[in-house]
């Protein structure tokens, strides 16, 4: 009896302590924000795939300029992580996925506020270190004796890689199957890998650190980015307006500049 009591007490104390931390923290920020800014300020929370970081931050600024008193906050991460968080009740207003599979997880749970719309697409490209030390020219060269790094088939860029190689009939022997496209890019920029398969946007984003080599077989796997407002959003109208901006000329220009292709 004593024992159960003390465990219950412990759990309560722990819960209270954790709750105290949480409410204390947000209460503090709320207080300072409230004192400093107008009371009617609203926050739009956008969950977006990590590959959209640069473009969406720019679009977010445009959105804030067009909507006084609105602040856009982003959470950038892997699409599957973001879906999992939304499924667990994370307060997202908008979700932009790097692939259709993860968006389907959202719609399967009925968590979309409107029909998802494709807003951009991306294709694979070969990334090599500056100077292209292994002399890679096309997809077939990747099957040769070199340090090739790709995404693991479990993640979207890896699925795309598999689709491309299967349709092209090329058998690759990578030295590593990375967790994310960022990891692949890092292995190429540090020169550890002679070549990696990443997205066109990644090559452009990396600037001078890598060289990109387009290859025609990439057309077999066009990665489509869908976006949708999240169901039960407190700012449903604003969420829809954000989606509209991404689809409009303003958003599309930003995306195009970063190397994204228009949605098919």
């Amino acid at each position: 009896m004593r024992r159960t009591l003390s465990i219950t007490t412990a759990a309560l104390v722990l819960a209270a302590a954790v709750a105290g931390c949480g409410s204390g923290g947000s209460g503090d920020t709320g207080a300072t924000d409230g004192a400093a800014a107008a009371a009617e300020e609203t926050t739009l929370t956008v969950y977006a795939a990590a590959s959209l970081t640069a473009t969406f931050e720019q679009i977010g600024e445009e959105f804030e300029q067009a909507h006084a008193g609105v602040q856009v906050e982003f959470s950038f991460a892997g699409s599957s992580d973001l879906v999992a968080q939304i499924q667990e009740g994370a307060p997202a207003d908008v979700f932009a996925s790097a692939d259709e599979a993860n968006m389907e997880k959202l719609t399967a749970d009925g968590l979309e506020g409107a029909e998802p719309v494709a807003f951009a697409s991306n294709t694979l490209e070969i990334a090599v270190p500056p100077g292209n030390p292994a002399g890679v020219a096309d997809l077939d060269d990747l099957a040769g004796d070199l340090n090739l790094v790709v995404c693991a088939p479990e993640v979207p860029c890896g699925a795309a890689t598999r689709k491309v190689t299967e349709s092209a009939g090329v058998e690759l022997a990578p030295v590593s199957e990375e967790q994310s496209v960022t990891d692949v890019l890092a292995k190429v920029t540090t020169g550890e890998a002679d070549a990696g398969l990443v997205y066109v946007t990644d090559v452009i984003g990396a600037g001078d650190e890598v060289e990109g080599i387009e290859f025609p077989e990439a057309a077999a796997a066009v990665n489509v980015y869908p976006i949708a407002p999240v169901a039960d959003s407190a700012n449903a109208d604003l969420a829809q307006e954000f989606v509209d901006l991404v689809l409009a000329e303003g958003g599309q220009t930003v995306l195009r500049d970063a190397g994204f292709a228009p949605a098919p």
Binding site: I7, T9, A10, V13, E154, S176
Partner: protein, 263 residues
């Protein structure tokens, strides 16, 4: 020996925060057990990817523990038994991996043993490629685990003191004999617990490995990397593998406790 009135220094209220702390550690473990998909557990466990990841983890952790002992014992002895200029600074630097985020360790290793790293070109000339190899996994694990062994053993050496070593020397034992027949047996419990800590740390190593070694089934994808990757497509499988890692860790700790008590 009985512990008479052992509770004189333990106020009743202390059990509340102690139990809260214990619950904080144990509840997540319970959560893993509760979420484990028992119906598919065996299938998940014996899948080639899981088995290869587990075997690779055990093999690399074993190797890195061995390396930790080979290098850590001399390091601990030098730190505990000698004095030289800059020793304090050196100790702090050597123990740095204890507090570094492992990903930082991975980056540091990359710029040391990678192709363009400090030693990478030398290795390249010798025809050895470290990156993307199982060797890289072992290096990453050794890097993060070595300080655990050194700290644990240095403490044991300081506690044991030098008196037995002095006696052995005056009995005519050369330093190597003293080390082998007196010092090592005296600190064996400390060495064992240090090695177990190092093994456990190696087993759990993730950040430095993924940064430095890459991830390829059977070569560099250890169990933690496999769990992280499996999360992408099959969260239940990740939970099942996590449970495997928890069980292995518990076995290791249990083995270490038994080993210590028999000494």
């Amino acid at each position: 020996m009985a512990a008479p009135s052992g509770r004189v220094g333990v106020p009743a209220w202390i059990f509340v925060p102690a139990a809260a702390g214990a619950a904080f550690v144990l509840l997540p473990l319970a959560a893993i057990v509760l979420r484990t998909p028992w119906s598919r557990f065996l299938d998940l466990l014996v899948s080639p990817a899981s088995v290869e990841a587990l075997l690779l983890s055990l093999r690399t952790s074993g190797t890195s523990t061995l390396l930790c002992v080979l290098f850590g014992v001399p390091m601990a002895l030098v730190l505990a038994r000698t004095t030289f200029r800059g020793q304090g600074v050196l100790r702090s630097l050597v123990l740095l991996p204890l507090v570094l985020p492992p990903v930082v360790g991975g980056i540091a290793l990359l710029y040391t043993f990678g192709r363009r790293g400090l030693l990478g070109e030398t290795f390249e000339v010798l025809g050895i490629q470290v990156a993307f190899s199982t060797t890289a996994v072992v290096l990453a694990q050794t890097f993060v685990a070595l300080p655990f062994l050194v700290v644990s053993l240095e403490g044991a050496l300081r506690t044991a003191g030098q008196r037995y070593e002095v006696v052995a020397a005056t009995l005519g034992a050369r330093p190597t004999t003293v080390f082998r027949r007196v010092t090592l047996p005296l600190v064996l419990p400390g060495l064992v617990s240090g090695a177990v800590l190092a093994f456990a740390r190696s087993l759990g190593e993730f950040g430095a490995t993924i940064t430095f070694a890459g991830s390829l089934q059977g070569v560099t994808r250890t169990l933690p990397l496999e769990i992280y990757l499996r999360r992408e497509t099959d969260a239940q499988a990740a939970v099942a593998l996590s449970l495997v890692l928890v069980v292995v860790a518990i076995l290791v700790i249990g083995f270490a406790r038994q080993g210590r008590s028999s000494l």
